[in-house]
Symmetry: C2
Subunit: 177 residues, 2 copies
Amino acid sequence: MKNVERTIKSDKVYQGKIINLRIDTVELPDQKYSKREIIEHPGAVAVVPIAEDNKIVMVKQFRKAVEDCLLEVPAGKLEIGEEPLDCAKRELLEETGYKSDNLEYLFKFYTSPGFCNEEISVFVAKDLIKDVAQPDEDEYIEIEKYGIDELVEKISKEEIKDAKTITCILYIKNLLK
Amino acid sequence: MKNVERTIKSDKVYQGKIINLRIDTVELPDQKYSKREIIEHPGAVAVVPIAEDNKIVMVKQFRKAVEDCLLEVPAGKLEIGEEPLDCAKRELLEETGYKSDNLEYLFKFYTSPGFCNEEISVFVAKDLIKDVAQPDEDEYIEIEKYGIDELVEKISKEEIKDAKTITCILYIKNLLK
């Protein structure tokens, strides 16, 4: 496919704690120009932690952007220079209080490629060892455990509303060997 | 869950064509303050168009934010005051050239609730009638058709990298009656 959009100009609008915003002026295949609003994100990981009883460890937290408490798989953004696998181990411990040295990479995806470069790498974690959760200072997280079929039912009832979580759960249901 | 974050202050940083950016200062459950960077998005729809041969009509387009051509389900953002069903019919025609009066609502989800309020409502479209595609002036779109199992395989091979598309395809595979 040849319709690559060449960047003519790139203006930084905002540089923040988690995201930056820039406006790119691009040249289209017909030589016309257009503007693209782009959110820069450092990337993130999601972890599907599978406990000994085969239940999946989920987190529940308030999300200001949507003013709602959401049930999600543990996840978090990459620190500068951090490898996804290290980030996955760190976020698993911080958010759930479980340690694991048995993490396996599954797949990755873009959350909103129409305007944002966030990419999430997904890991499955097994052989969980209970330790102490270490949430960030401004994180308030509750832990809940569910079987995979309970989670699929929650998706069908719209009780799980987070795209990365739906993606992870249905991927595990369909494609995990 | 009681950890609602009360808004103390809300500052508009940017108002754009597709997205706005604001910074909320919130009061946490322990009375401390924190900042939340929030992208405001008008919301969107995604459509899974199922042709007579049971193949799914997909679109391929360049996505500047990730500098890549992605295979996706047809989708687009809501116009002001537009109902999701009307938006789904409009985007289906604009992007694929197919009309349908047989659209069924399936489910909805948030794409990135950690920092963005974008919600996508998903519809399945049947009884497709060939018409003429009407892409936006700055959209360059190719159409490809695949069976559901081909698409699931593309997910497993990371040839589909867009979260909404993975979500829609695996939902159809698992939960469409």
